[in-house]
Assembly symmetry: C2
Homo-oligomer: 136 residues x 2
């Protein structure tokens, strides 16, 4: 049977309150302020557990460590090809539903059971776009 733990609660709350998409290590360093004895393994174990239970989302970055997201509302992740920052793109609900349905239908076409869809976009963010124009 699954037990409550203060560490897991802290991790979940932290992810829910912050608007960015921290790596396990960023989260760990941050949580050390509130709980200096916390270990990195605990962070990884709980992040895995929270993903499985559907309370958070794991984001695979094109480069660097995985990132985690406490925002369960359907949205798109935009990753910058230069600074590798990840930004949220909120979807207007009608567009969301349309894309979601489309994707669900595609999934059924191959006989699979749909559970989740993620849309990733990449390109250059506002800041890096400017820098690139200067550099080249």
């Amino acid at each position: 049977m699954k037990k409550y733990s203060r560490q897991r609660e802290l991790i979940l709350n932290s992810l829910r309150n912050r608007m960015d998409h921290p790596t396990a290590e960023i989260l760990y360093l941050d949580l050390k302020n509130q709980m200096p004895e916390i270990g990195i393994a605990t962070v990884y174990r709980n992040l895995a557990e929270l993903c499985e239970s559907g309370n958070i989302i794991k984001i695979k970055s094109k480069s660097g460590p995985d990132r985690y997201d406490g925002n369960l509302e359907p949205h798109i992740h935009f990753e910058c090809n230069k600074c590798h920052e990840i930004y949220d793109i909120e979807m207007q609900s009608t567009a969301t539903k349309r894309i979601e349905n489309e994707v669900r239908r595609f999934t059924e076409d191959i006989g699979a059971e749909y559970s989740n869809s993620s849309i990733y976009i990449d390109g250059y963010c506002k800041k890096c776009k400017v820098l690139i124009n200067i550099a080249y």
Copy 2:
């Protein structure tokens, strides 16, 4: 200046000819048949180079090593939550264009420069769906 290499040509051809999404290691073991002296570092180096030049696509798997895809036609990747196999879902061109445009517009809304979009779906594939029903 970039030089031709037989290794890079083999890697690219192999990815273009196969229909699956091999990891660097799978590709490496396979290529050893044609070129026993090839090294894994060469495979990684060339895969990175081919991604940058836009000749292949890197797919981040939810678990396990990265996978590579020589198919540049717009399509969706479906990853099975159980066996972690990745399947292609072909998109009918009208649907593709609609989703692509929608996504492009979202990107412009945050002031970023769109370069590419990827849609990932996860769930249970045909084979694993059956096994899960038996197991539980």
